[in-house]
């Protein structure tokens, strides 16, 4: 009996204890519910919708913290989040179209005249005219690290809505650099505040800026038309898995940079996935200091052994496009490359390489065919590509030793330490296709790590640098691309498909191939 009493007392005590603990929670829950109802009512009365946007692409680590377009890569943030706009923008086919500009013409090889649209105001209220734009470009040239060398500007003149750029030498690509995010036009009378906030002409203005978060609100006086009233918070989240869980839990409404592996979790009616192929290419440079790789047959054997479709369709979960060259294929274009391990083996055999000792690797003069593969883990696709290529080359008897290190820029200086370098690069950032060749594949290019040299390519680059006609420029760039692919100096594997994943009540959050424009006036939160 006493034992039963003890048990009953213990049960009552436990119940009371739990009840005491639960009571405040209940009250708290009621308070939360009330607060939510109040907030909802308040929202419905003010009609302001909110969106929290998580991205892996904002912050100090990406060199784009803040909104000042004249600092580092912060112009990307300024343009991406709808604060700043440029004179020209890149459309769905990465072609230049006027944006803040109404029209333009090259008066001569060194003079570009741009007419600015009428009726555009900065968020500060100041009217955008040629004088305001001139102040902005002069500051850009004075303080930015890349713009002066790209634009080669000698003088800028302003007269009403007419802005005239005079360059130090013929620069057909100048117009392309006016679409580069660093060319976003901001009000220099307001300037850049200590939080790196600016006043631009875009549909949104920032109400607070930090290195990890930007709070935006829609403008009432946007020049392209009304913008649905909303507040947006951009949060820097560097870990892809945190983004995944944030979107699943509802803490985030939209994301940029979800890991490929997470996409199946959002392929349902509750979410929207909008994708676009970009010009960010994953490609391999071969090291021409290695005697073996000077042989074109060996290079083609390697290229033909790489299973690009397997990499894109399985390892990237279909979130990419097979590459046919440095630039993404246009709609309807089919990949023109051959994946043939058998042909690769034949080429190796013809070059005297065969597996004489039966160890699975081809050898010659008693030495196995071994190559060192260098890459970096900063782009998560690259270590995956490394392991994929390692397996592909093993199939044809080549042993690949992988070195995936953040320190790759030091390693690459020692040409005996690597044979294949895999990297990622936006090949066409401004619609100026010459950029890729000038940067990576001409004899004197700064990022030509493998010392590739092709006199025909160098000559065509000279022609391109003085050609103003856009059709002829495209034609020449295509020829250069074909040379590079046919010579197997570079092996282009895939292009990144960028996706923005959001809850299904978010409409109009559509990525562009240039990767520049994310928040437009058409972004609606239902």
């Amino acid at each position: 009996m006493r034992k039963q009493m003890k048990l009953i007392s213990a049960a009552i005590s436990t119940a009371l204890l739990l009840g005491a603990c639960a009571a405040p929670n209940k009250q708290a829950n009621e308070n939360t519910t009330n607060a939510e109802t109040t907030a909802a009512n308040s929202d419905s009365t003010s009609d302001v919708k909110t969106m929290v946007y998580g991205t892996t692409s904002y912050g100090v680590g990406m060199s784009d913290a803040g909104l000042n377009p004249h600092a580092d890569y912060s112009g990307w943030s300024c343009v991406r989040y709808g604060v700043g706009e440029t004179l020209f923008k890149l459309n769905e086919n990465i072609e230049l179209v006027p944006w803040l500009a109404e029209s333009y013409k090259f008066l001569d090889d060194n003079t570009l005249e741009v007419i600015i649209k009428d009726g555009i105001n900065f968020s500060s209220g100041r009217k955008l005219d040629a004088a305001a734009a001139k102040e902005c470009f002069e500051d850009l040239i004075a303080v930015h690290d890349r713009a002066p060398a790209d634009m080669k500007i000698k003088e800028i003149k302003a007269d009403g809505r007419t802005l005239t750029f005079i360059s130090t030498e013929p620069n057909p690509a100048l117009i392309n650099f006016l679409a580069e995010p660093y060319s976003a036009i901001i009000d220099m009378q307001v300037g850049v505040d200590e939080t790196k906030n600016v006043s631009g002409t875009g549909p949104y203005k920032a109400i607070s800026v930090s290195d990890t978060e930007i709070k935006l609100e829609s403008r009432d006086d946007y020049w392209e038309g009304p913008v649905a009233k909303k507040n947006i918070t951009v949060k820097s989240i560097t870990d892809g898995d945190t983004l995944t869980m944030g979107l699943q839990s509802g803490e985030l409404d939209a994301t940029y940079g979800l890991p490929y592996a997470s996409y199946p979790l959002f392929e349902n009616d509750n979410y929207t996935i909008n994708s676009s192929a970009t010009s960010r290419a994953f490609f391999m440079q071969l090291n021409f200091e290695n005697e073996l790789l000077k042989d074109k047959n060996i290079r083609s054997a390697i290229a033909m052994a790489v299973d690009k479709e397997g990499f894109v369709n399985v390892l990237l979960g279909g979130h990419g496009k097979v590459a046919n060259g440095p630039f993404p294929m246009k709609d309807g274009e089919t990949p023109n490359y051959s994946f043939s391990p058998e042909k690769s083996k034949e080429l190796l055999n013809a070059a005297g390489w065969s597996d004489s000792d039966g160890d699975g690797y081809v050898d010659k003069d008693g030495k196995n065919f071994e190559l060192n593969f260098l890459t970096y883990p900063g782009r998560s696709e690259l270590p995956i590509l490394a392991q994929s290529v390692q397996s592909n080359l093993k199939d044809i008897g080549i042993k690949l030793n992988i070195n995936s290190t953040e320190n790759y820029l030091e390693v690459v200086k020692d040409s005996s330490a690597w044979d294949i370098l895999a990297s990622a690069m936006v090949t066409n950032p401004t619609g100026n296709k010459a950029y890729f060749f000038e940067t990576t594949s001409l004899t004197e290019s700064s990022k030509n790590r493998g010392h590739y040299s092709n006199s025909e390519l160098d000559e065509l680059a000279k022609t391109l640098s003085t050609t103003f006609d856009s059709e002829k420029r495209d034609e020449t760039a295509q020829k250069m691309s074909d040379i590079l692919v046919d010579d197997y100096g570079f092996i282009f594997v895939s292009h990144l498909q960028m996706s923005l994943v959001s809850k299904n009540n978010i409409k109009g959050l559509v990525p562009m191939p240039s990767d520049y424009y994310e928040f437009s006036k058409d972004l609606v939160i239902e």
Binding site: G240, D241, T244, P259, Y260, A261, S262, P264, L265, D307, G310, V314, L315, P377, P383, I384, Q387, S388, Q390, S391, K394, I402, S404, T405, N407
Partner: protein
């Protein structure tokens, strides 16, 4: 009775070490052979731990990773215990300025959380698994130095040490032939209990990309490789996780048994 208690843990540890040593020969599939057609397949009769994103057999990779994971942990413990014990023995026996300086250095090391310091050191070395082993050993030796020094201080005034000194033995002889055999039991118990911890710390470094890097199979880096797929293909993360759990448990059981055996 004491011997019986340690028998089963010893058999388990010896079996584990043998298994780890022979692991590359025991894999049913080639650990680097990719087959994208069967990528991310769930556990089945043909692949009992499923396959990873490259279609590689997880069971084979978990087994193959045993050698690098287990022997690297042993290397860490050996390195830090040998270094720490030598320092502790001489500091305790000789005393003086060297003792003061070395003990203050060890105080500095002990003032920081071990793993945090190891992450910094491994980042500095940037040399894969070898760098991770050196990093963990370089932050772990002071505990052994402290332990050995304390044991030496309690034994160096003993009669048998005085007798050895009077019979003409020099410092090195006294330290290694008289003192060390008397304290080795306690050191061995501490070391055996540290193997499991070292294995987890090495896995943590590899998980962070500071130890073994893919495609080398190592349990920590394998868990990291499958992290994004935890909700879609949990077996990629769970398989190496279970391997770590079992291995650490065996070493801990052995350490406890050894402690009971020495009555420490």
């Amino acid at each position: 009775m004491r011997t019986e208690k340690i028998l089963i843990p010893s058999i388990l540890v010896i079996s584990l070490l043998l298994f780890a040593f022979l692991s590359p020969k025991l894999t049913p599939f080639d650990i680097s052979e990719q087959n994208l057609m069967i990528a991310k397949n769930a556990p089945s009769l043909s692949h009992i731990m499923g396959t990873d994103i490259y279609g590689r057999d997880m069971f084979s990779r978990v087994i193959a990773a045993g050698r690098i994971s287990v022997f690297s942990a042993l290397a860490v413990v050996l390195l830090m215990s040998i270094t720490g014990v030598i320092v502790g023995l001489f500091c305790g026996y000789l005393g003086g300025i060297a003792d003061t300086v070395l003990m203050r250095v060890s105080d500095i090391f002990l003032a920081f959380p071990g793993l945090v310091l190891a992450i910094a050191a491994a980042g500095l070395f940037q040399n894969g698994m070898f760098g991770a082993i050196i990093a963990l050993a370089s932050v772990g030796w002071p505990r052994y130095a402290r332990l050995a020094r304390g044991l030496v201080l309690s034994t160096k005034t003993s009669t048998y040490i005085n007798a050895a000194r009077l019979s003409g033995s020099n410092t090195v002889q006294i330290v290694f032939t008289e003192i060390l055999p008397n304290i080795i039991g306690q050191i061995a118990v501490t070391a055996s209990l540290d193997i499991g911890t070292s294995l987890m710390e090495l896995s943590a470094l590899s998980f962070l990309g500071l130890g073994a890097t893919p495609p080398t199979p190592e349990w920590g880096s394998m868990i990291n490789e499958g992290r994004s797929l935890l909700q879609i293909a949990p077996w990629i993360t769970l398989s190496p996780g279970v391997a770590i759990f079992i291995t650490v448990s065996i070493f801990n059981i052995f350490g406890e048994a050894l402690r009971d055996y020495y009555n420490i």
